[in-house]
């Protein structure tokens, strides 16, 4: 009897940890403790700075993905949006040929152009999904291809540098990037937890039919989620472009796995209805810690990719465990 009681309390503790908002943060702590002793340079201030610089833009894209996943959709086009925004922004404000060249307004207007481009693609995705009832996977897969094609075509696959210093600082100076990411993160957090739109997002993700019957403008909510995702991808493009000091049509093309992986590791469900800003932050942190430590260990690309794949798979497993064992099914 007492055995059963201990087993029960142990299981209760395990459940509490598993369902806690901070579960992935604990995972990060454990990972650092395990890996730090044999990873040279892991626990240095300099490395923390590096980690932060690479984490911020990924966090911002992943936030957009979180919103879309909450509605039960998926946005595969975010990486292409980053490329498109990077190149349109660079075309607009580079010192040589840009129409904003050397203008004092180059930075704000250029950034605005990038955000608009992101919103445009997001709006296209959302419209195609809601108006024509096409599955999000196919729509965003198609726009991923179309948009990245357009980005490459715009400059014939060339990259553009000589961007305004003020613009480069947005992503290149970690403190500024941190402020941008914080503002974005807090806004999205308030939107999700406190605003009507946020509650609607969850309702649509849980059950779109019920939401519709309850008077939720389902199509508008889904459209909004994809536009947000596009805009946030554009913000990430600003950070990435600033870091590279160059506009490139293929910027960020390889990070799709990281974006979706980090979001899901954080605990946002691929089945919709669940997701939080904090979860995504921890998911991104975890993925970047893994990435950073493996890099510092100077493992070959192949090992690195395999290890990352395994980590993401494990996270997906945890997600399904959480869904299956969650209080929802008891």
């Amino acid at each position: 009897m007492s055995d059963a009681a201990t087993a029960r309390s142990w299981r209760a503790t395990a459940a509490r940890v598993l369902f806690s908002d901070y579960f992935v943060l604990w995972l990060c702590v454990v990972y650092v403790a395990v890996v730090a002793p044999f990873t040279p340079g892991f626990l240095t201030l300099e490395n923390a700075g590096n980690l932060l610089a690479t984490l911020l833009p990924l966090f911002v894209v992943a936030l957009g993905q979180t919103l879309v996943l909450i509605t039960g959709g998926i946005d595969l086009s975010v990486t292409s949006i980053i490329g498109l925004c990077s190149i349109t922004g660079a075309l607009a404000m580079n010192d040589d040929t840009g129409w904003l060249a050397r203008s004092p307004m180059a930075m704000p207007v250029g950034a605005g152009v990038m955000l608009a481009a992101g919103a445009l693609v997001g709006g296209f995705n959302g419209t195609a999904i809601t108006r024509f009832r096409m599955p999000p996977f196919i729509v965003t897969l198609a726009s991923m291809m179309g948009v990245s094609g357009a980005a490459v075509w715009l400059t014939q696959s060339k990259t553009i540098n000589r961007l305004p210093d003020a613009f480069n600082a947005l992503g290149g100076k970690t403190t500024i990037a941190l402020v941008i990411a914080l503002v974005v993160g807090i806004s999205v957090h308030v939107m999700l937890s406190r605003s009507m739109f946020g509650r609607w997002l969850y309702a649509v993700g849980h059950n779109a039919r019920t939401a519709r019957v309850s008077g939720v403008p389902v199509n508008g909510v889904i459209l909004g989620a994809y536009i947000c995702s596009g805009v946030l991808a554009a913000v990430a493009a600003i950070l990435y472009t600033g870091q590279a000091e160059t506009g490139s049509p293929v910027l960020g093309q390889r990070i799709l796995l990281d974006v979706i992986g980090a979001t899901v590791i954080g605990g946002t469900s691929l089945f919709g209805g669940r997701g939080k800003v904090l979860w995504t932050l921890f998911g991104v942190l975890f993925l970047k810690l893994v990435d950073n430590s493996l890099n510092l260990l100077s493992l070959s690309l192949f090992t690195l990719t395999i290890v990352k794949g395994v980590v993401i798979l494990l996270a997906a497993l945890l997600d399904s465990l959480r869904t299956r064992l969650g209080p929802a099914d008891r």
């Binding site: 040279p40 340079g41 240095t44 300099e46 490395n47 590096n50 610089a53 690479t54 833009p57 014939q156 696959s157 060339k158 990259t159 553009i160 540098n161 290149g172 990435y240 870091q243 590279a244 000091e245 160059t246 490139s248 293929v250 910027l251 960020g252 093309q253 390889r254 990070i255 990435d291 950073n292 890099n295 510092l296 100077s298 070959s300 690309l301 990719t305």
Partner: protein, 338 residues
Amino acid sequence: MTHPMKFFLRVCLLAACTGLVGCQKSETTSAGTAGAKPLTIGVAFETLQTEYWVAGFEAIKADLKKRGHTMLEAVSDGDTNRQFDQVKNFITRKVDGIILVPKDAKTCLPIIKAANAANVPIVLFNRPADKSDAKSVAVVADNFALTRETVAYLVSEAKKAGRKHKAAILIGDLGDINAIGRRDGFDAAIKGSESVVEVVARIPTEWNQEKAQAGLVNALQASPDINFIFTSSDFLLPSIVSALKTAGKYHQIGMPGHVILGGFDGDATAYQLLKDGYLDATGVQDVYFEAAQCIQAVIDLRAGRTVPDLIRDPGFVIHQANLQQKAAQMWGAQMSKK
């Protein structure tokens, strides 16, 4: 065949194949620094997706090992921001120098600046950066000179055959400075010999095998008498062979109807075709020389010696006559032996 023993040794020691010049130079000048203290060098490649980069990567690895230095490796798989992270990680790990293959000439500038700021010497392998205030050294093949030399050899073969030749060139992606250098080298070699070789087809490939094949098939239909083909890269050779076979024009050297064939790079396919007697010549980028020069540049920069911003790999032309002698230096030959 004059130095069979030396040849044999070179084949065995793949790692030692750094070219005569490079070898001698490194042994004399680096004895003081390299012998004193083993260095840690970070090697960051943008991709390992084609044979050429793998060969370069392996050559650097082997050379560093031979010299007793430690190598940290990172491949960014085409992602500039990731490469930036990787280089920053190298700096965190306090490497003594960085050898970099950037994605392109521009996006690498912040990376170079980061290395400059940390006072870590950085050398670019085979792809130079755009001009800027960021300081780096680049080791690159002399595309123009080597192509001119290769095509000049082909022209001389055409002269020997006597009759007038109709030529086709497969041009690379003109967004790529290497492709432009090779096209210009080709044009320079043909210039003055128009009476022997007349260029009837210039086929844009954009570095795409399907486009190359379709373009060549069309050209062979338009001018069935094409009997002189130069490709700006050896990796298009399989497409050329296939197009020639379809047209019934694939014959060995010396056979009637042979199409004079030349290329650039020196990959494994080129080596095989040379051996089988279908390919006349190819301009070989001397990967081992470039690897050795990169490492040497890092060592020299650390020692405070001045190093030119651009180190040229003259490469060499390999053809039927010098095949045996030069094969050991041809990276494609070494790859195909593996």
